[in-house]
Symmetry: C2
Subunit: 348 residues, 2 copies
C-alpha cells in the first residue's frame, strides 16, 4: 500500500500479560498510530484501558473488528490467532502474531529484527513473532554465526513464570506466601494451564514448559529447536534444548553452549562481536562479579550476555549466559519492532 503518515493498529489480547506490555511500550515509542483498537475475548470485553491519557473500551474480537485496521498485533493464544488472523488479513490488515500458530508455516516469516529483518518483506499478511526463549538466544547467536560460524548449539533455560501468563505469576506469589506461612502449597496453573497435573513452582524448579510432544520433548523445547533453525536460515544446525520453569516473575535466562566453526578463538573474540551487535549488551566482568540476572534485565529492551567462557577442553566450545525480559524483547517489544520495520520499509 502507499506509505501512510499514521496507521490504525489493533491489539488482540489487550488485557493479557503481553497485551498490557505492548500498550506500555507503545506509550513510550513513536509508532505513528492513528487509532488504537483494543480487542479481547468476550469475557474481558467491556474493560476500560488507558492509552496516552485516553480511555479505550476493550471490544470483543470478531472478524469485523479488523475493518479499517492496518496492523493487528495478536497475543491472545494460538486458537484465537488461528481463527482471527486470517480474517484480519482478509480485511486488509497485516498481522504480527505473537503465538505459535503460524511460526513454522513456510509461508509465514518468523522474525527477530536484529537477525532477519528482511524476511518481513516476504510476508503474505502474517508475520510471526518467535517464542520468547528463542528470540533472546538468536539475538546472541547471530553475531557469532556471522563472524565465526556455528556448528552446534546446546541450551538449558531458566524461565520466568510470567511466560505462562498473569495467572502463573499470581500462583507463584500465592504459593510463596503459603510456604512461608507453613501451609501446604496449592497448584492449579503451572507447569501448564489445563494439563493433567499441577505442581508447585514456589521454591522449586519444573522441567516442563508447555505440553509434552510424542518424542518426549516439551513443545517449548521443540519451539526453540525449530524456530532457531528457521530464523537463522540454518536448517542443518544441530540445536538441543532443555526448558525449565523457575520461581521468578520476569526475564528468562539461558545457559547456551556453542561449538563455533573457526578455531583458535578467544573470549575476547566473542566479546568483540557481541559488543558490536545490535540489541545486545555485554555485561561480563568476573573481576567485579558483573553478569546479567533476571532482576537486572527486567523492564529493559535489550538482550544481555555475560559469563562468556572458552571450554577448557575443546578449542571450539564456548559458554554464554543470555538474559532478557521475556515480556519485552521476548514478546511485546519484538512485536512492535516488527511493526516499526514494516512501516519504515513500507513492506505492507
Amino acid at each position: 500500500m502507499t506509505s501512510k503518515t499514521a496507521y490504525n493498529v489493533a491489539v488482540v489480547g489487550a488485557t493479557g500479560a503481553v497485551g498490557q506490555k505492548i500498550m506500555e511500550i507503545l506509550e513510550k515509542k513513536d509508532l505513528p498510530i492513528n487509532e488504537l483498537k483494543l480487542l479481547s475475548s468476550k469475557r474481558s470485553a467491556g474493560s476500560k484501558l488507558t492509552f496516552k491519557n485516553k480511555e479505550i473500551i476493550v471490544e470483543e474480537a470478531v472478524p469485523e473488528s479488523f475493518s479499517g485496521i492496518d496492523i493487528a498485533l495478536f497475543s491472545a493464544g494460538g486458537s484465537v490467532s488461528k481463527k482471527l488472523a486470517p480474517e484480519a488479513v482478509k480485511h486488509g490488515a497485516v498481522v504480527v502474531d505473537n503465538t505459535s500458530a503460524f511460526r513454522m508455516d513456510e509461508n509465514v516469516p518468523l522474525v527477530v529484527p536484529e537477525v532477519n529483518e528482511s524476511d518481513i518483506k516476504s510476508h503474505n499478511g502474517i508475520i510471526a513473532n518467535p517464542n520468547c526463549s528463542t528470540i533472546q538466544m538468536v539475538a546472541a547467536l547471530k553475531p557469532i554465526q556471522d563472524a565465526y560460524g556455528l556448528s552446534r548449539v546446546i541450551v538449558s533455560t531458566y524461565q520466568a513464570v510470567s511466560g505462562a501468563g498473569n495467572q502463573a505469576s499470581e500462583e507463584l506469589e500465592k504459593q510463596t506466601e503459603q510456604y512461608l506461612n507453613g501451609e501446604e502449597m496449592t497448584a492449579e496453573i503451572l507447569p501448564v494451564k489445563g494439563d493433567k497435573k499441577h505442581t508447585p513452582i514456589a521454591f522449586n524448579a519444573l522441567p516442563q514448559i508447555d505440553v509434552f510432544q510424542d518424542n518426549g520433548y516439551t513443545f517449548e523445547e521443540m519451539k526453540m529447536i525449530n524456530e532457531t533453525k528457521k530464523i537463522m536460515h540454518l536448517p542443518e544446525l544441530p540445536v538441543a534444548a532443555t526448558c525449565v520453569r523457575l520461581p521468578f516473575f520476569t526475564s528468562h535466562a539461558e545457559s547456551v553452549y556453542v561449538d563455533v566453526e573457526k578455531d583458535g578463538l578467544t573470549v575476547k573474540d566473542i566479546w568483540k562481536v557481541l559488543e558490536e551487535a545490535d540489541g545486545v549488551i555485554l555485561e561480563d566482568d568476573p573481576a567485579t562479579q558483573t553478569y546479567p540476572t533476571p532482576l537486572s534485565a527486567s523492564d529493559k529492551e535489550e538482550v544481555f550476555v555475560g559469563r562468556v567462557r572458552k571450554d577448557p577442553d575443546l578449542d571450539k566450545g564456548f559458554h554464554l549466559w543470555v538474559v532478557s525480559d521475556n515480556l519485552v524483547k521476548g514478546a511485546a517489544w519484538n512485536t512492535i519492532q516488527i511493526a516499526e520495520r514494516l512501516i519504515k520499509n513500507n513492506w505492507f
Copy 2:
C-alpha cells in the same frame, strides 16, 4: 587396623548445615558407633546437641580432639580441614573430608561409593567427599559410561541456596518476605559469603557459585569439571559446566547433555541402565508429567533422573535431568556411605 565392633566417630562442623544433616542421618543408620564426638569452631563450642536421646556438648576442634577417634567426618570449611585433617590423621583417625581442601590431591581418593568405591582402599588417612553438584552427576553418568561410553558432557546446574550454608537459606527467606512486602531486598551473603559484591537471590538467578577463577570460570564450575574426571577415571573426558544459584532451599537439579560413544541408542537403552543403577531412581514418564523436581527429591538419599531424551539432530546426543538433595547425597549421606564402606571392607 583390626576390625572393631564399634567405632569412635567425630563430626567436625557439627552445628553447620551439613553437620546437622550428618547427625540426622546417623540417627537412622546402623553405623556401629561407640562414641560420637561433636566438634566445632570456638564460637559454636558449648552448644548442646541431641543424638539418640543423649545430649552431647559440642567441643572446640583442636588437634588433641582426635585422640582415640577412629573416623572423623569434616564439614567445617576448607581452612579447618587443611589445618586439622592432617592432625586427625596423626592421631590415628581416618578422615572423610567434605570440603574442597584435598579433593584434587593425587594422594587423596575422591569417592562416590556407587561410582568408585574401591578407590577408598588407596587412602593415606584422608578420603575426600566430592562437591554436591558433582556427586549427583557422576552417579547418573557412571552407568551410561559403563554400558555405552561417554565422549562429552555439558552440564548447566540449578542449585539450591542451602549449598551456601544456613545463612544463605535465611537470606532467601528474608529477601522473599521483603519482596512480597514491597520493600527493597538486602543482600549480604549470596552469591558468595565474603566476596566483593552481594546480589539478591529471591525471585532471581545468580550465575555465580563460589569465587571466580582466573580463567573466568567459578570455582564451583571447575570443581564439577575436574572432580568428574578424577572420580570417573576419565582424565580426557571433555566436561563443560555452568553453575547457577536459584531461589529454592534444598536439592540441586542439573540439565546434563552427553555424547555417548555407541551409536544407534534409544531412550529405552539409557532408561535400562539407569533403572539398574545403584543409588539412582528413574522418574521419567512424559505421559503422566512425571519427572523429579527439587521439592520431590528433598530429604531423599537417591539421585533422581528424568527427562531422558535423544537429540533429534545427533544420534549420539542425550539429555538427562538429574536431581538430588544437596545436603543428603550431595554431602552428609555420601560422607556416611564412605564411612560405611570403609568399615565394611576394613580399609583402615
